[in-house]
């Protein structure tokens, strides 16, 4: 192209491409915003979302399978076993370590630990991030003796 032609086509293209760009942004102007109004409106998490665990204490048999499966060893379980009676005295998950991998839930023979929909558990202290799922229980002296606490 001759320089004159290049010059005029450059000027034209400059204007034209600006116009094309502006038509694209105009489309965005009228499209629905993608913003989530998070603290005001809680987002609905998907069904298979891997959030904080949900633990069904009454079903748990204290078998430590989940703790063993956990790659980062963040589940700590305390059990008192007296014959058929099983008392879960401790079921702590350390969410500083947990990576929400779901590996603990799959092998559970009693299907009592699941990944839940919740995700808001920020804390200002380290201890605050360790969640205690087991309901606190009064233990007698005997029970204290046979309580087994392990992280595996």
């Amino acid at each position: 192209m001759s320089p004159v032609k290049t010059y005029f086509s450059d000027v034209f293209m400059g204007l034209w491409t600006a116009m094309v760009g502006m038509s694209i942004t105009l489309k965005y102007l009228f499209s629905k915003p993608v913003t989530e109004m998070y603290p005001d409106v809680k987002p609905k998490t998907p069904t298979r979302y891997r959030g904080l665990h949900v633990f069904e204490e009454e079903k748990c048999i204290g078998c430590y399978v989940c703790a063993k499966a956990c790659p980062v060893d963040c589940i700590e379980i305390g059990v008192v076993r007296k014959g058929k009676e099983i008392k879960i005295t401790k079921f702590d998950i350390d969410y500083q370590k947990c990576m929400f991998c779901d590996l603990c839930c799959e092998p559970c023979p009693a299907h009592c630990i699941h990944m839940g929909p919740e995700f808001e558990r920020a804390s200002f202290t380290r201890s605050g991030t360790i969640l205690q799922f087991a309901t606190p229980k009064e233990l007698s002296e005997d029970e204290k003796k046979i309580e087994k606490v392990a992280r595996k």
Binding site: G14, T25, T35
Partner: protein, 350 residues
């Protein structure tokens, strides 16, 4: 009601304030100034909000939503309060007096320009004979303020920003002046009121739609050069956040920063308003006989919208590109337009 500058002295005399005769014009002058400043501050506040809101939606976001109810319409007031409360920092190695002077120069330049800026046939401060020329002249003071700010900050980023501002201003001022020449030639007056009066009688009488359409090109040139002189995107090199931190106002904080901010937004209003007055028929409506301040506001807000739209669309140019556009594209095109329109005016006049 007539021009503010004429109306206020008589208005004041009506109060029997027992002011000395000589003081009445002075008081009126101060009142005029404060009215202009207040109007400017208010419109800047609205504009800042509109800019943020639109910026959000242009990017599929929401923009401000919390302050003042649903649409965040008090956002700029919150911003203003924040700026008021900020600490005013002057760097140790800055040139203190100049550092302090610069923001005032920037704001005064724009403020003074509004004196000759008519909003409707009856709503203006003063109808100067040299209206548009006066505005062009005082606007340069703003640029001087910017350059001074960059120099006085004693900071490399600021200095670079200021140099860019100077180079950019020199290359945008000339096409802008040439583009303004066309309406001036056609209306045979420098007074904005006369220029608008010449465009009365429906949309076809607006200067942009006047055959042989030299003025349509001039309108485009004026608008683009206006963007450049305002340092608005895509010509926001003097600030260029990603390269120069904040460019010429890197070292400014609090109120002094807000002066630059206000000058920019008031400048936007000025350029859009001028484009509406010079090329889009000012306060005349689409149909013949329609006229009123609402038309002017409508056109100005549309142009402001376009400015915001451009800002959130186009990426920043390089400084050599800006200078190229100014000197090698807009100036020759504007010159051709001036010659063409001169010929058109000449032959129309017979």
């Amino acid at each position: 009601m007539n021009e503010l500058a004429r109306f206020l002295p008589t208005f004041l005399e009506g109060f029997n304030l027992s002011l000395p005769q000589n003081l009445v014009p002075v008081v009126a002058m101060f009142l005029c100034g404060s009215i202009v400043a207040a109007a400017m501050g208010l419109s800047a506040a609205v504009l800042v909000w509109a800019e943020r809101k639109l910026a959000g939606h242009f990017q599929c976001r929401l923009g401000p939503v919390y302050v003042g109810g649903k649409f965040g319409w008090l956002q700029s007031i919150a911003d203003g309060i924040k700026l008021f409360l900020k600490e005013d920092i002057i760097p140790t190695d800055a040139d203190r007096p100049l550092f302090r002077l610069a923001p005032y120069l920037a704001v005064i330049g724009v403020l003074a320009a509004f004196v000759a800026f008519p909003i409707s046939e009856h709503l203006l401060v003063a109808d100067l004979n040299i209206g548009i020329f006066f505005i062009l002249a005082v606007l340069t003071v703003e640029v001087f303020g910017v350059i001074l700010a960059g120099w006085a900050s004693n900071n490399k980023w600021s200095l670079l920003g200021a140099m860019r501002a100077a180079a950019q201003m020199v290359s945008s001022e000339i096409p802008m002046g040439l583009a303004i020449l066309l309406p001036v030639m056609t209306a045979e007056s420098l007074s904005l009121k006369t220029i608008v009066a010449d465009q009365s009688g429906g949309i076809l009488k607006w200067y942009v739609f006047q055959p042989p359409f030299f003025m349509a090109v001039a309108f485009l040139i004026f608008f683009v050069a206006g963007l450049a002189s305002l340092k608005r995107s895509p010509f926001d090199l003097p600030e260029a956040e990603s390269e120069l931190t904040a460019g010429f106002h890197t070292e400014y904080s609090g109120m002094r920063f807000s002066f630059f901010f206000m000058a920019e937004y008031a400048g936007m209003l000025l350029v859009s308003g001028l484009a509406a007055l010079l090329y889009l028929g000012g306060w005349h409506g689409i149909l013949p006989g329609q006229s009123g301040v609402e038309w002017f506001l409508l056109k100005t807000s549309f142009l402001l919208f376009v400015m915001i739209w451009i800002r959130w669309t186009l990426p920043r140019l390089r400084i050599d590109q800006v200078v190229y556009v100014g000197w090698k594209v807009m100036t020759p095109f504007a010159l051709v337009c001036v010659l063409g329109q001169a010929a058109a005016v000449h032959f129309r006049g017979g």
